[in-house]
């Protein structure tokens, strides 16, 4: 990609964001939407600035991110372990298939009442939801990844008498890595959704509960400012995981193509 193209796209994107800002500013100013429901962009930005200059906001961000990080880490570690074990063993795969297929589509929010009963507004109730939701995202990708390993590579490893552990480390892991990282990216996004949901619905401290407090006290601009903040966090998480993907997978065709394109 040429510098011109990238700069042009960047400017176009910036123009798009600016356009959104202008539209959202104009709608309430022109009276098309009541500012009680949708305050102008400038008011939201002021509210965001106000929030960001107070300690309460950053404490809440910290709480949300802590639940997100711990939950994602637990889910990721568990899913990679379980996925590697199941993925490399035909017997385990056969016996766990039905259970996975049944448990995976169960919506994580179904566990909210249970989480409330067990842990109330302790961080563990958030973690229960975050771990449950992101575990499946990662697990499925790990299973795809292990299944996707080129049989020729496995046969090659076999013929060179690599042991099971060596095969896992040198053959299966590298080929499954792109899938694992995709799982991490999906899991990270889902973990954020569930962390904020738990705060919003259960009332655990964090950004979600801040939003709920702002809503029930009628601070509309603050609600929008906080929603925008969650969006920014989501964008940031996505960007970080994507750049990690690019760095770890520089050898992989899909990334090479993406860069060449």
């Amino acid at each position: 990609m040429t510098y011109d193209g990238r700069a042009g796209r960047f400017l176009a994107g910036l123009a798009g964001l600016a356009g959104l800002g202008v539209v959202l500013e104009a709608l309430p100013r022109l009276g098309l939407v009541s500012p009680r429901y949708l305050p102008p962009t400038s008011t939201i930005l002021v509210a965001l600035y106000h929030e960001a200059s107070g300690a309460e906001f950053w404490v809440a961000v910290g709480q949300t991110m802590r639940a997100w990080a711990i939950g994602l880490a637990i889910a990721f570690a568990a899913a990679v372990l379980v996925g590697s074990a199941i993925g490399t063993s035909r017997v385990l795969r056969a016996f766990t298939g039905s259970t996975i297929e049944f448990l995976r589509p169960i919506p994580s929010v179904a566990l909210i009442p249970l989480a409330v009963l067990l842990y109330a507004t302790d961080i563990r109730s958030t973690l229960l939801l975050v771990v449950y939701a992101s575990f499946w995202q990662v697990l499925i990708q790990v299973l795809y990844g292990v299944a996707d390993v080129d049989p020729t590579a496995i046969d090659t490893a076999r013929s060179y008498r690599l042991r099971r552990w060596a095969r896992l480390r040198h053959v299966i892991w590298p080929s499954a890595l792109p899938f694992v990282l995709t799982g991490l990216r999906l899991g990270a996004a889902v973990a954020l959704i569930l962390a904020i949901t738990a705060e919003l619905v259960i009332g655990n401290p964090g950004l979600g509960s801040l939003i709920e407090v702002a809503r029930s006290s009628g601070a509309v601009a603050t609600v929008y400012a906080l929603v925008a903040a969650t969006g920014l966090i989501g964008v940031a998480i996505n960007a970080v995981v994507r750049s990690a993907e690019r760095r770890l997978l520089f050898w992989h065709p899909s990334i090479r193509r993406e860069i060449a394109a």
Partner: protein, 264 residues
């Protein structure tokens, strides 16, 4: 004979682990006599008495209707806008960051925002589902339209396939693997949002019922509700896979062939 053995073995494979898990649950719940962990038997009893009666009509039906309406509208909107945006490179580069931002907003935070607009109504709940589901469908459709094979595009040009026929026979079909991936993501988001919008503020619905049971400490009823929700998720995802398998039969077939060629 070996055929029969194989079928029996397959049934054992499918049922063994679920049976063990239910057995474990039963054993733990009977030994502990925990208030929060009723026995599987009592949950099944409640499941039948609570969910095969009035609640099926009063709570399950409204939930499912809102879910399907919201999901369907989000799918139409997402695919429609995605086709539009995907067709124009300039438009794409302008709106892409905006779309990425909207997609990154965790959908449940839209509930408080939409309550401002539409109050605690059905419209609000449907709007919540639409506003959460539309992004994955939209972005995946854009990606799908973008990745239509240039040779196929030129083939269509040479043979004068344009307009509605081009959309129907080329763009939609070529983008369908991406579109289906987006719809699959959107389905689980739709269920989550259906439940949350009802937990927040509602007088009926699955989410409302489950929270009500939890607050009044009707624990077996609550577990039965969780079971209903789980079954709903399982059934919808099974239906989705059925549709997906039909729509993408050419795609899976083609992939299987090209993978087979790789192995050879």
């Amino acid at each position: 004979m070996t055929g029969v053995v194989r079928v029996v073995w397959r049934v054992v494979e499918i049922l063994l682990l679920p049976a063990l898990l239910v057995g474990l649950w039963w054993w733990v719940s009977v030994r502990n006599q925990s208030f929060y962990l009723p026995t599987p038997g009592s949950i099944v009893v409640k499941f039948r008495s609570v969910w095969f009666g009035r609640r099926a009509l009063d709570d399950l039906l409204p939930s499912v209707v809102r879910l399907l309406v919201g999901y369907g509208l989000a799918a139409l909107l997402g695919v429609g806008l995605g086709l539009l945006i995907g067709a124009s490179r300039r438009l794409r580069s302008v709106v892409e960051p905006v779309l990425e931002f909207f997609r990154a907003i965790p959908p449940p935070v839209l509930v408080p925002v939409l309550i401002l607009f539409a109050g605690l109504t059905d419209t609000m709940k449907i709007l919540v589902i639409i506003s959460g589901c539309v992004w994955p469908v939209l972005l995946n459709t854009v990606e799908g339209v973008r990745s239509v094979d240039p040779v196929l595009i030129e083939t269509a040009r040479v043979f004068h396939i344009h307009g509605a026929a081009r959309l129907r026979h080329l763009v939609l079909r070529a983008a369908s693997p991406h579109i289906m991936a987006g719809l699959r993501q959107a389905l689980s988001i739709a269920i989550i949002l259906m439940v949350i919008s009802e937990m927040f503020a509602s007088s009926n619905g699955l989410g409302f019922a489950i929270v009500q049971f939890q607050r009044s400490f009707d624990i077996p009823e609550m577990w039965a509700g969780i079971l209903v929700l789980g079954l709903l998720g399982v059934v919808l995802s099974a239906l989705f896979r059925l549709v997906e398998r039909r729509v993408l039969r050419w795609y899976t077939g083609q992939r299987a062939v090209s993978r087979g060629a790789d192995v050879r």
